[in-house]
Symmetry: C3
Subunit: 424 residues, 3 copies
């Protein structure tokens, strides 16, 4: 590592980051046990990928049984970046300095995790150590937001159910219970979504968010078709694929409209194929497809010029499209490096392309996507290292930016841009 890279990295570690997408449960943000860390889907799915039976970590088993199984397999994945997240969290947050986590030493770590969990406001200490100021949540539309610790957490309205499960009576029942609106018509849906966006906005929400399959195409909606589909669903009838699609496209559009009305960004996370491998471990059953194109979103971006779409793509084949669409559309903001694209090889290539061709003021560098705050530190550190490397090698050492300017760019990506774009 060159001196420039070293200096930059030290400064980048000192930037207080905003984490604009996570799945942290606000009522239990930090790990209570080592099992809460080892149970992260990356470890269970990779151990399964390497040969562990899926039922070895069945959720009906005890925490102890599951931990034992995973630890026994950790050596098979010790090369992965995900393993390095675990070890860095253990080292930096729990002062666990063994080189590897093994069947003969894991109980030590388990004890330290359990002890730390009992410390008051442990999650605040963890986030402080990670140098993360705010962490966005991903809240169900009918979640109670009142108990959230707003000093560090920012609510975010997850809209997947509203778009793709609206034909489900239970979803409409939950929606009615929350908003008071029995959704039987397209107008009702607008009312209910409006109610939710107001509620979330008042609770300090940073955005609406949705994950989308690779073949979703958010065209201008056919409200009559959606109306008809909604009526059929309300009447207890199953929808055809076409009806389901008309309804999803309409509901998606209603949410985009509400984002405009309430001036909130819409986080689009594009490309996931759900339930591709139902025999997999919990959280390890979804995949991606390289099919589809961001060109299908152009109509949406045109129709909502005043909504910020912060976009993540799951397939690396979409990366170039995302960069170029963000290059041309003012309201498209590339956001982080998501899930299957969240490894250094892909981040480095993609980040370099974004930094070389997009305005620095519209790049959202990174988010953790974590389920427990402990992973904020190693995931953000991974990104900080890649960022330092790309800035040093491609910008400072080639004299396109001074070190000071490079650091300014890093500050925008990690902190200033998400603050400004999400209004936190």
């Amino acid at each position: 590592m060159s001196d420039v890279e070293n200096r930059l990295l030290a400064e980048i570690f000192a930037i207080r980051a905003i984490d604009c997408h996570s799945h942290v449960p606000p009522e239990s943000p930090h790990a209570q046990t080592l099992g809460d860390l080892l149970g992260y889907h990356y470890y269970t799915e990779l151990a399964h990928s390497a040969g562990m039976p899926a039922d070895a970590v069945d959720l009906r088993k005890s925490d102890l049984e599951r931990m034992t199984e995973i630890v026994a397999r950790l050596d098979t994945i010790s090369n992965t970046i995900q393993y390095s997240w675990l070890m860095e969290a253990a080292r930096e947050l729990f002062a666990f300095h063994a080189e590897r986590l093994t069947p003969s030493n894991w109980t030590e770590l388990a004890q330290v995790v359990a002890e730390a969990a009992r410390k008051k406001d442990r999650y605040l200490a963890v986030l402080a150590k990670a140098n993360i100021e705010k962490v966005f949540l991903t809240n169900r539309f009918d979640e109670d937001l009142s108990a959230i610790d707003r000093t560090v957490f920012v609510p975010c309205l997850r809209t997947d159910d509203l778009v793709f499960q609206l034909a489900d009576a239970e979803v409409r029942r939950r929606l009615a219970a929350k908003t008071g609106v029995e959704v039987g018509s397209s107008g009702d849906l607008r009312d209910a979504v409006g109610w939710l966006m107001r509620y979330f906005t008042q609770a300090g929400a940073g955005a609406a968010a949705i994950s989308l399959p690779p073949d979703f195409s958010p065209q201008a909606p056919d409200e009559k078709a959606a109306q008809k589909a909604l009526a059929r669903a309300a009447g207890g009838k199953a929808l055809s694929a076409a009806e389901g699609q008309a309804l999803a496209i309409f509901a998606f559009d209603v949410i985009a409209g509400a984002c405009r009305q309430f001036r909130k960004p819409f986080q689009l996370m594009i490309g996931v194929l759900r339930n591709v491998y139902p025999a997999g471990v919990a959280g390890g059953q979804d995949l991606l497809s390289k099919r589809g194109s961001l060109a299908d979103y152009a109509d949406l971006f045109r129709r909502y010029p005043d909504v910020d779409f912060t976009v993540s793509v799951l397939s690396m084949t979409w990366a170039h499209e995302l960069t170029t669409f963000a290059w041309i559309f003012p309201n498209v903001k590339p956001s982080g490096h998501w899930w299957y694209a969240n490894i250094p090889a892909h981040i480095e290539y993609d980040l370099r392309a974004r930094l070389e061709s997009l305005p620095k003021v519209k790049l959202i560098g990174y988010y953790s996507d974590m389920y427990k705050v402990e992973f904020g530190l190693p995931k953000f550190n991974m990104y900080r290292r890649v960022l330092a490397r790309v800035l040093a090698r491609e910008f400072v050492e080639t004299r396109r930016l001074s070190e000071r300017q490079a650091l300014e760019v890093a500050t925008l990506l990690l902190r200033e841009n998400p603050k400004r774009i999400f209004g936190v």
Copy 2:
């Protein structure tokens, strides 16, 4: 930068390049004002992408107003490679040595640009400084080629209108005015295109060129269907999508045939989606799609084995196909790094792959795609730097080529191959 890379770069700067694709207007090849440089679509579209309203640079505004707006936004894009082109041009061509171009210093540069513009044959000095020997133009089919300075400029027949706008009466009128052929039949079209190719060839043209949408598929044409479509168009009728397509495929084939007859390469620039963002700035409304496949061009490459197709692709997802098709088809020649693929991250990866797997004698290294000669220097310099890096790191330092051999490769890419392939 290693010593090897440094030495190679110095030698590569000394290679007199051929620039085989640009949009330089022969009657006004160099910038008259700083506005001619700042008005390059990269600056207006990136400033707009970063938040500047598109109408801030409306062409009805004065040069001064537009320059003021763009300069005010330059800081937002100071990380981009495009910004570095601007600053390198300012430094090397106008002796402007400020680190950044800002609202407080831009008038100095504007003054130097305006003064330089008045020097006799300024464009020749600019190209000499860039070490570029010849610059290809992109001429409308009815452009007057007689006034072109053939000491540095090479005409090139742009055929987009002939392929995709032939149903437009105005295009046929222009065609008739130029060639004397009223195109009402497929035979007429052959005559008119033959006339144009002869005219361009006599004027020293280097090639025919066309940009193509990602879903274009140049199959063997159905001449009867094209004939019928042409007759309908001549009769003032609007064409269906299928008719329009049949006509485009036929016209494309006629041009390929004329390239064979007149022994000219056909520059295919594949992948642009036009007018995706009509609310954007001038020149900043087109994008790309990752859909489509070079496999759809195999039939063309088979049918015209004696035509050199110099091919550029806009989407990085097509890069591997281009490399492999050039590997197998003698008449497919990868050409430069186009537009949205023209940033170092993509050039470096793509260039390395081409150099590792394709005969050195068929690679066309680079072209500027510029609108004013001033951008030849920084764009070619960007490429020269990437080329030096790839040759040094992957070829010389790994002992697969000596420095002398690496330099030979660079000379082929920048100069000898385009000279031989385009016959200049």
Copy 3:
């Protein structure tokens, strides 16, 4: 090259590799003449790509004529990695130390090759020098396996004909001649394939293997439709595209079932378009397409959880899908870097991604795909160098693995994983 990389490379050279895919003819595994090396399709196709007429290397010409033609063109491809394979083989296996192979020195090499060919068991010496312990073959289903030197060669059942040519009477005749089963029904096909798998297993086969076009979609078969297609074919009738597809999908499924029964991996090599350029040289007529998706294979991977699918993809646009599917599916094992993806630029990017995100115990590092054993050395050496670079730069120097651990990973990829997965 850093000290770490140097040390790692030395150790990686010392790993005795397993080469799990080649086209070596067991009756003539090493080159008899220099023509056997220069006739490798990479040299003929690249020389043709650079301008040599295809008939210059027509197989009806003499070895001498063809060698002369190819040598005359070698300079045009001296930059390619394929050329460096040739020179490394010449240097390391034939003590030929000229910097380039030219019209004035090639007869010296030809003489050494011819002399070496006469040494007893020359191929064993070649493989020893390459540090390769076992080489898999690709055997026709009716090949005689009895004469194979099982000390170094491992048979492998090539199933392309069984899946895609079953409607061909000659293929069914060959199948009946080998297995004694006249295939007229779906049950017959099961019997015949079962017979073959037993025969190959008894002969020590490592796997079944198949190459697949990019649009193949191995769904659950419709046995009735396949039965009907088979009956029509047996009756001498030509099959429609749909019938051919139904038959192929069924036959593919029968083979997957036989792999399960006989506990053999199924090598899937996905993405080749055959005969895209029929006017090309022998072996240089196939290409690829970026279309298709591994998502179409998810159903197969779900239905055969106990079959190891060792998967290679031909198009780099599939690389991310392969990595992610191997991440989630225990039975998907990424295998090597195939053909058009087998150049350092692609290997380096792809290998880094696999190493950063997949369990080390399921990666099959490399195979040679060679036709003569002489290419095992330079091809594996190319891979060993990339592997050393990636492990040094991304793992050891970033302190994610110690040198010892990195070497362990290398040993898994080159030796232990293929040994375990293929049971050799």
